[in-house]
Amino acid sequence: MSALIASKIQNNPKYLELVGRRDKLSWTLSAIVCIIYFGFTLMIAFAPGVLTQPIAAGSVIPLGMLLGVGVILISALLTGVYVYKANTTFDPIVLEIVQEASK
């Protein structure tokens, strides 16, 4: 990558916008996963009674089992959200930036 291309990209407002938007999405989704997972973990640590209560009267299935499986499913879902967003929104912007810089 030449210094000229680098400076063109550096000064392209689209690039700065891309970095800002991607960072925002990355850190927001990371925060969501952490909040959900550490929420689950904090319940294990401080409120195990909530997790071990049955989901319905007469059922042996504890609420925590549904929540645990839920954390796994939400994690997979959020990776899907990121991939969709990156494929449809960020990749075209990256392509534009690279093309404009190599003109």
Binding site: M1, L25, T52, A76, T79, V94
Partner: protein, 599 residues
């Protein structure tokens, strides 16, 4: 030449297995027919049945130990098929492995879906298959906490690491950390932490392989099992490099997912496809009854909030710092494929963990209290013949008889081979790419020399794994997960993320932070309950927690921060300025290593 070597090794392996098994069969027949005079009969039989005199020696040796169980033919045949196929792939890969990029990164030609399968194959170890099923079998609901913790690292890898790693690095994660920092000190630190993780992880896998294979096929001793694993790994990786490793992992992932799905389906069919029935049946059978649904710690252990949180941190961020996992992102064509591969990998792994949970409860219903599998039913209806990792294996027998048991046993063994291949390659690349080529030769080693050193490192690591695996046979290795994941979570993960996202990080901060992570996590583990009390027998632990991450990870971040912001050196200033160029490459992929096929 390579064909010949592989052919000879394969033949030798087949001969060894068939020789052993024939001998054992003969001996077993002798034992069961005329037990009191078994030795006499057995030593007389081989002359007519067995082809070689060497076999006769083995036969009489085996006959001397009475009451050998019959040989598990199904497992052996399926295992040999797997070995034959993977050696065939290794040969194919060897003919296509010419450059260093081929060797370390499969020519960067792996697609997103392929890498997603390989990620699953690299990550789903026998410990997570047999281990989580066993945790559920003994403790119920508690096992799910591990499944969840081992999965949530994956979204973090995607959001923060995968694409940027692919864009910035070449073969190891140290490439990324040293992108704008000083090569020498960074690579030495990163290689040390990688090698500690890899070698301990290898010990855990080797011990597991030895015990598993010896339990499933008692005629193969613990040592022989480990030697077979070591020999196969050395062949796969030295000849086939990352291409062979990738395909071994892909095949293993398909087998493991297929086998686990069949088992979970069998369990659900037995329970009329009702989860309520599965769980109430398990509660009815398990000696702890409803407690298996009520405990968030191992049954019988005291609740410990800080330990639970530290465990959570370790599992989540440890996953995102394992060198053999990070290495997989250099094999894909581009950042987009890296991104997609995490989505596929996460789905496979998440699906698998849900299956292991069903399998664990299925084992309570179908394996516990069954005299075929339980060691001494009058003492405990849970304790199984062959030890604590057997619930999933016996469940396969309960569901599908000898044939399915053989299949699952072969799958478990394939699982170990795939994980060990990835680990060995990651360890070898730290030695050859980081230490030899970048530090000793200062980047002036030729590609050929580097790959040669790498292959020697593979052989060396393979031998080390075998020797340590044998040395640790009788040791308590339960702390290995805590050790490897703690170092990965406290060193590799924070230093990697800081180098990618924080302009202010300098060499001084990264190195001091990195060593704080390595020394801190090992030190606290040694004076913690698992090593201090259980392994060394020194009495109550000085540091009362099994998982030190909740102390060490924040300390590493603070040390790296303070050491960086107080770094007023000229080189430190240059490193901060170089962040702009790094960011452009990380975000756009301009200048990133390209895939071999695109030239």
């Amino acid at each position: 030449m390579m064909t010949k070597i592989i052919a000879v090794l394969l033949t030798a392996l087949a001969l060894m297995a068939s020789g052993l098994s024939q001998a054992a069969d003969t001996a077993t027949a002798g034992v069961s027919a005329v037990a009191p005079t078994a030795a006499v009969v057995a030593s007389g039989v081989p002359a007519s049945v067995a082809p070689a005199s060497a076999v006769a020696v083995v036969a009489s040796a085996v006959a001397a130990t009475p009451a050998e169980p019959p040989l598990n033919w199904n497992a052996i045949i399926m295992f040999l098929i797997f070995v034959a196929v993977t050696l065939g792939i290794t040969y194919w890969a060897a003919t296509r492995t010419k450059t260093a990029t081929d060797f370390y990164a499969a020519g960067r030609g792996v697609t997103g879906l392929q890498n997603g399968m390989a990620i699953a194959g690299d990550y789903m170890s026998a410990a997570s298959f047999l281990g989580i099923a066993a945790l559920v079998y003994f403790n119920g609901f508690y096992g799910l906490i591990f499944s969840v913790g081992w999965l949530v690292g994956w979204p973090i890898i995607l959001f923060l690491i995968a694409e940027r790693l692919r864009n910035l690095g070449k073969y190891t994660y140290a490439d990324v950390v040293s992108f704008r920092l000083k090569q020498g000190p960074i690579r030495v630190m990163a290689a040390i932490s990688s090698l500690i993780v890899v070698i301990w992880y290898l010990i855990g896998q080797a011990v597991g392989a030895g015990q598993l294979l010896h339990t499933l096929i008692p005629q193969v001793s613990y040592k022989e099992a480990i030697v077979v694993v070591g020999a196969l790994i050395i062949i796969y990786v030295t000849f086939g490099g990352m291409k062979a490793t990738t395909w071994v992992q892909i095949i293993k992932a398909c087998l493991l997912l297929g086998g686990a799905t069949l088992m979970a389906f069998g369990v659900m069919q037995h329970e009329g496809f009702s989860f309520e029935k599965l769980f109430s049946d398990a509660v009815a059978i398990h000696p702890k009854g409803l407690d298996i649904m009520k405990s968030v710690v191992p049954l019988g252990a005291k609740a410990n909030p800080i330990e639970s949180i530290s465990l959570g941190l370790t599992l989540m961020f440890g996953t995102a710092g394992l060198p053999h996992i990070l290495m997989r992102f250099f094999t894909v064509t581009d950042a987009k494929a890296a991104r997609k591969s995490v989505l596929y990998g996460t789905c496979f792994i998440g699906f698998f963990y849900i299956l292991t949970f069903i399998i664990g409860f299925g084992a309570i219903v179908l394996v516990a209290n069954n005299p075929t599998y339980v060691a001494d039913i009058s003492k405990s209806i849970l304790a199984l013949k062959g030890g604590g990792s057997m619930p999933a294996v016996y469940l396969s027998h309960a569901l599908g008889g000898d044939l399915f048991l053989g299949f699952i046993a072969a799958v478990a063994f394939a699982t170990i081979l795939a994980v060990v291949s990835g680990l060995t390659l990651a360890g070898a690349s730290a030695l050859s790419h980081d230490i030899y080529a970048s530090v000793i030769k200062k980047g002036k080693a030729s590609e050929k020399e580097e790959v040669w050193v790498s292959k020697m490192a593979v052989i060396g690591l393979g031998i080390v794994a075998v020797l340590l695996g044998i040395a640790f046979e009788k040791q308590n290795v339960a702390y290995i997960v805590a050790l490897t994941f703690s170092i990965a979570a406290c060193t590799n993960f924070p230093i990697l993320v800081l180098s990618i996202f924080w302009r202010g990080l300098t060499t001084r901060g990264a190195v001091l932070g990195g060593y704080t992570g390595i020394i801190g996590s090992i030190g606290l583990l040694v004076i913690g309950p698992t090593v201090w009390t259980k392994v060394l027998g020194m009495g109550p632990a000085i540091f009362p927690y099994d998982f030190p991450t909740f102390v060490v990870l924040p300390t590493v971040l603070i040390v790296a921060y303070i050491a960086s912001v107080t770094d007023k050196s000229e080189s430190g200033q240059k490193e901060r300025e170089a962040y702009d160029a790094q960011l452009i490459r990380a975000e756009t992929g301009l200048g990133a290593e390209t895939s071999a096929s695109s030239h």
